[in-house]
Every structure is written in structure tokens, then in C-alpha cells.
């Protein structure tokens, strides 16, 4: 079986992230990491592969050239191979274009099961996996808090506010997973060295036959971007007459906080 995991490479969540007011994109100079939710998706695939010989896990990333180190980390964790789609035409790509690219790349790579995160930490669109499934005409099980992969079927549980929904679909299918999945493993020395020898194919839009500027398709276009206004000073309650508690309670009530 071939499982393809969609891993987005995002600005380091531990570092400060800034939005460029010129491009509307997150500045990516401060260091990139494989999105943690993508690592969790990878963990689910690797756990299955560990227990089922003949399963091959492949990582697919659409992202800037600097994403290589993060893709190598995925290989060091245990993925067998990877595809990296990188192209200047994809800078600032919207969900629609990204989904088109991911779907085309999946067609090229081949898959029995596609595992994605439910939502990226930076774009937070939360719909890419469903869009990809739509392009490929595949069943789509989204927001799974537990996944069970079998020979010809994938199933799982989606936890909603008031219910847990059991879902299943025949393979091939697309699933997206939530943070409820187990923590991802992390590589070791040997994984890093082995990763250097694993195939990592870098392809461009031309390789996929996609025209990023094709205006016959609808695209979302950013018209304006603004920084969040700085926070106001806030209200300070000082206790100079022993009545501060009352005023604090009044303030909280006024703002519907109690």
C-alpha cells in the first residue's frame, strides 16, 4: 500500500511570526518547520507501515525551496520518499491553486490513501484536504480524532460537540486528522543519515502542467492587508479606598465576563 502524507512546511511556531504588509504573506525567513499536525498525520501513516510490511509512506509538500530541511526530517522520521513542489508561481497561492497542485502531484506520485492535517498552523484554511478529495473524486473523511487503516478501507472517529461520529470509506480515500492523534515520533542519528539517501523529487508547476496565472479558474486574490491595531492601554483598577473589589466586579459584569 502507498500512503501519501500531506505535510505543510510552516514558519517556526516557537519563533516570532510576522506578516509582511507588502505581500500579505507570513515572513518565512525566521526558520521553517514541518507543521506539527502534518507530523501527526505522518505518525499515523508510519505506525501503520511499521506493522504492515509492504506499506510505503511518501511525503508531499507544496512550499518554498527552504522547505527541504523539514522534508528531510520527515524522511528521517521514517517516510520512504518525498515530493516537493516548488515554483515561483506558487508564492502566495490560495487554497484553490494549492489544492489543484496537490491533486496533480498526487496523480503523479500514486496513492492508496492520502493523510493530511485538519488545519495548518499558519494558513488555517482547514479545507485543503476536502478540496483535494473533490479534485480526485475520492471519499473524504475529515477531522478524525482516531484513524484505523485497513487493507481496503479506512475508518475513524470525528468528535463533534455533542456526538462522536464513526466514519469509513473504501480506499483510495483522503483523510484529515486532528491534534487528538498521538504525538509524532522524532528521528535519531541513523534516521538523519538514512534520509540523505532517500529519494526526494523536486518538481515545478510545468512538470504538473498547471498554469498558476490561468484566469479562467476562479482564485481568491488579496486586495489589502493591515496589521492588527495595537492593543489599547486597558483599564487599571487601584485600591485606594477599599472598594476596588466592587469596582472590579462591576467592570467584569459590564463586559459580560461574569
Amino acid at each position: 500500500m502507498r500512503i501519501v502524507v500531506l505535510v505543510k512546511v510552516v514558519p517556526d511556531t516557537n519563533a516570532e511570526r510576522t506578516l509582511s504588509l507588502e505581500t500579505g504573506l507570513t515572513e518565512r525567513a525566521t526558520g521553517l518547520v514541518a507543521d506539527e499536525i502534518g507530523e501527526r498525520a505522518l505518525e499515523a501513516a508510519l505506525t501503520y507501515a511499521d506493522a504492515h510490511e509492504g506499506t510505503e509512506v511518501h511525503v508531499l509538500t507544496v512550499g518554498p525551496a527552504e522547505a527541504t530541511a523539514s522534508i528531510r526530517k520527515c524522511l528521517a522520521m521514517g517516510a520512504a520518499s518525498a515530493t516537493h513542489v516548488v515554483d515561483d508561481g506558487l508564492v502566495g497561492a490560495d487554497l484553490g491553486l494549492t489544492a489543484e497542485v496537490v491533486a496533480a502531484a498526487l496523480g503523479r506520485v500514486g496513492y492508496d490513501l492520502v493523510v493530511a492535517g485538519n488545519q495548518s498552523t499558519d494558513g488555517m484554511g482547514g479545507v485543503l484536504p476536502a478540496m483535494v478529495a473533490e479534485h480526485l473524486g475520492l471519499p473524504s473523511l475529515t477531522n478524525l480524532a482516531a484513524v484505523d487503516i485497513a487493507d481496503a478501507e479506512v475508518s475513524g472517529t470525528r468528535v463533534a460537540d455533542d456526538a462522536a461520529v464513526s466514519l469509513s470509506a473504501p480506499l483510495p480515500a483522503v483523510v484529515s486528522v486532528t491534534e487528538a492523534l498521538p504525538d509524532p515520533r522524532f528521528p535519531g542519528f541513523k534516521g538523519i543519515m538514512a534520509a540523505k539517501k532517500k529519494p526526494l523529487e523536486v518538481i515545478s508547476l510545468a512538470d504538473l502542467g498547471i498554469d498558476a496565472d490561468d484566469l479562467t479558474t476562479s482564485r481568491s486574490i488579496m486586495l489589502a492587508v493591515d496589521a492588527r491595531p495595537p492593543r489599547g492601554a486597558g483599564v487599571k483598577i487601584t485600591d485606594d479606598d477599599g472598594e476596588a473589589g466592587v469596582r472590579l466586579a462591576a467592570f467584569l459584569a459590564e463586559n459580560h465576563l461574569i
Binding site: 522524532f186 528521528p187 535519531g188 538523519i192 543519515m193
Partner: protein
């Protein structure tokens, strides 16, 4: 100053060590090690699983094959120490990879390598190196532990002290007298195995620093050690073997000192930035700024020196006297930086909750073990004057 000895593999490995620290080297874990006086075996094994321990074991025996390249080891030191909770683990890892494994990997017979190294790569077997005795430290050739030849092996009598990892180790590479007098060929290295009859661990030593890493007394009364445990299988090579691994041992202490210096600078910068006095941040007093500038510069020079030594070591060209210079010079700079760091922390610098205070106490032994700094100066002086 930007260091240039690391490539992308080292940086990828650094991320591994950082992640390991995040998951395994927690403040609670460090407290546990301190209370137990040793690092738990499960953590050692987990570290080995990620290649953080076992770096110097040759690849054919399941290790990383980095015996002649200290860079990955230095990355381990740097990240464990920086965390402020990892010094005991750094110490335990260092004993395994810098002091125990090399004697087997360099000088062991094929059978010894095949028997011990695969298990040392996984930390299923931990090693220690026992040279020092109650009556002989600097003067190594004054050791009195004897190994008398008998049929099929040796009978060992004597005692060792201050042996790092001496309690947790499964095998102890032990420096013994197999001949008469104190000529270099009167000594051998024997592998003593935990559990051998007559091999006892003495009382736990209460140290000034490194509370989480065991240091033990060992005693031997009529311990029978089979021939197969004679390192290299040839008698009389013990002293030469020790001399050959000294550059690595001294480089490792110097590299740890530089890592501690760098961490101390980071902790101090962080602390003084968050501490206020007289209405301003402590970091903004001119004295603080000058001291921090000195610390930062010293750290840079230490790394420049260590990095150069690491490069020489990779080429097999780091001599014993060059390594002696590195050891004494770096551990003394480390001491100055820590003293300054403690000072800039004020009273909190004296409180063991703060990593700077612990590092200060830990570091004191760096000028003593691995050959005292006086002995290091003797070695350097000998190399430049040609006189004993």
C-alpha cells in the same frame, strides 16, 4: 561569532537533541536524578535509541561511527547543558562515549568488540574507566591494584575511587598492575564486570556538584577476571592505551567547558534582562554590559579554540600536549564566566534552583579530573622546554 564546523547533518541532529531534551530532560527528571544520585537507565536507553548515546560506537556494531569526529558529541553537550537540566545526562553520555567505548573500539580484540559494543550502542551495557586510586591520582604509575596471572585469567586485588558512572556501569575498564615496578609496560587494562565475585561498590560519594551522576569507590578482593577480558589480549599495553585516548578525554572536557560557558552567558543575559534594580533593568548597567561583553568574547575564543582542536582530532592530529592546553585553558575560562554569571545573578546565583548555581558547582571538578590543571601545565611545559 559564527562557528563553521557544523554542516546540515549536525544541525538536523541538534534538532533531535533539542526534541529529546524537551521530552526527556525535564526539571522533574533532573530532580529525580539528583535524588537518586544517578541517571535512570530508561533515559540512557532512550537517548541511545536516538543516537544521542552510542555516537562513538563503530557503525558495524550498531553505533554512529563517530569515534574520530567529536562534532556530534559536542552538539549533544551543547544542547543538554543549555537546557539547564541535562548536565548529569551529559556527564553519563560522556563517560560512555568518550571514556569507555574508545578502549574497546580502538584496542579491543574482535571478540571483545563483538561482545560489548553492540550493547554499548543501545546503553544496555554502560561502561566506566577506573584509573584513580585512593593513593594515586595524578601519579598514575603509583597505582597498587594488582592483577596476578593465574590459569585462565587474573586475580585482581585493590581499590579505585572517584569513578564516574562507577555504580551504574556494567563493565569497568580498570587500570591494573600486571608487572613489577612502574615501567610503562607493567600495566594493563582489564574489563571488570558488575557482579563478578569479590567486586564491590563502596559507599556513595557526596560531591560538591553533579549530584545526578554517580561517582563511586570500587574494591576488588580476589576477583577472578578471565583472559578474554584483557583489553587487546596482550599484557603490558595498559599505560600506552591510556595515553592514546587522553587527547579525546581532554578535548571532551574542554568542549564541555565551552558549552557551559555559552549556556552561562545565555542564562545570565536572560536573567539580567528580566531583573530590575534602581528603576532599570540590570542588563542596562554599564558594569553588566561590560561583563557580558567579556563573557561573550571569551565564549567565542573558546569555541574558536575547541573547533580547531575538533578539526585536528578528526585528522588524528590532536597531540596530548595540545589537548592538555585546551583542557586547562577552557576549564579556567569556564570558571571565570560562571563566577561572573553567578555575580550578575545576585543572591539568586547562589540558589540551586538556578542553573547558573548548579553549573558553578559542577564546573569546579573540570579543573581537577581528566588530569589536574597543574598536571596539564606540566605536560605543556614539557612539550615546550623539552625538560621533565
Amino acid at each position: 561569532m559564527q562557528r563553521d564546523i557544523y554542516d546540515e547533518d549536525h544541525e538536523a541532529f541538534r534538532e533531535v537533541v533539542k526534541e529529546f531534551v524537551k521530552r526527556y530532560v525535564t526539571p522533574e527528571k533532573a530532580r529525580q536524578w539528583d535524588a537518586d544520585g544517578e541517571v535512570d537507565r530508561a533515559t540512557m536507553k532512550a537517548a541511545a535509541e536516538h543516537g544521542i548515546v552510542g555516537l562513538s560506537v563503530p557503525e558495524e556494531f550498531g553505533g554512529a561511527g563517530m569515534l574520530m569526529d567529536y562534532r556530534f558529541r559536542s552538539v549533544v553537550n551543547e544542547e543538554l547543558i543549555r537546557s539547564g537540566h541535562g548536565s548529569a545526562l551529559a556527564g553519563a553520555a560522556g563517560i560512555q562515549d568518550d571514556l569507555a567505548v574508545p578502549y574497546l573500539a580502538h584496542f579491543g580484540t574482535d571478540a571483545q568488540k563483538a561482545k560489548w559494543l553492540p550493547k554499548m550502542a543501545t546503553a544496555e551495557v554502560l561502561g566506566a574507566l577506573a584509573m584513580t586510586e585512593p593513593g594515586a591520582g595524578s601519579d598514575l604509575r603509583g597505582v597498587r591494584t594488582t592483577a596476578k596471572k593465574v590459569d585462565g585469567g587474573y586475580v585482581v586485588n585493590g581499590a579505585k575511587t572517584f569513578i564516574s558512572s562507577g555504580k551504574t556501569a556494567d563493565i569497568v575498564v580498570t587500570f591494573v598492575k600486571t608487572g613489577e615496578g612502574n615501567r610503562p609496560d607493567a600495566f594493563s587494562l582489564l574489563i571488570l564486570e558488575d557482579g563478578m565475585e569479590g567486586f564491590e561498590h563502596g559507599k556513595k560519594l557526596h560531591k560538591m556538584g553533579f549530584p545526578g551522576h554517580d561517582t563511586a569507590e570500587l574494591s576488588f578482593s580476589d576477583v577472578f577476571v578471565p583472559d578474554e577480558n584483557l583489553i587487546g589480549g596482550v599484557e603490558g599495553r595498559g599505560f600506552v592505551h591510556l595515553m592514546m585516548n587522553l587527547p579525546l578525554e581532554r578535548l571532551s572536557i574542554g568542549a564541555v567547558a565551552a558549552a557551559v560557558g555559552e549556556a552561562a552567558l545565555e542564562w545570565t543575559l536572560d536573567y539580567t534582562t528580566n531583573r530590575e534594580a534602581f528603576g532599570k533593568q540590570v542588563v542596562d548597567f554599564q558594569n553588566t554590559r561590560f561583563r557580558l561583553a567579556e563573557m561573550a568574547t571569551t565564549v567565542d575564543v573558546m569555541w574558536a579554540y575547541i573547533d580547531r582542536a575538533m578539526n585536528l582530532y578528526r585528522k588524528g592530529e590532536l597531540s596530548a600536549d595540545e589537548a592538555a592546553k585546551v583542557k586547562f585553558w577552557c576549564t579556567e575560562r569556564e570558571w571565570e564566566i560562571l563566577d561572573q554569571g553567578v555575580q550578575l545573578h545576585g543572591g539568586y546565583g547562589y540558589i540551586l534552583e538556578y542553573p547558573i548555581a548548579r553549573a558553578f558547582l559542577d564546573a569546579r571538578v573540570h579543573r581537577i579530573y581528566g588530569g589536574t590543571n597543574e598536571v596539564m601545565r606540566e605536560i605543556v611545559a614539557r612539550s615546550i622546554t623539552g625538560r621533565k
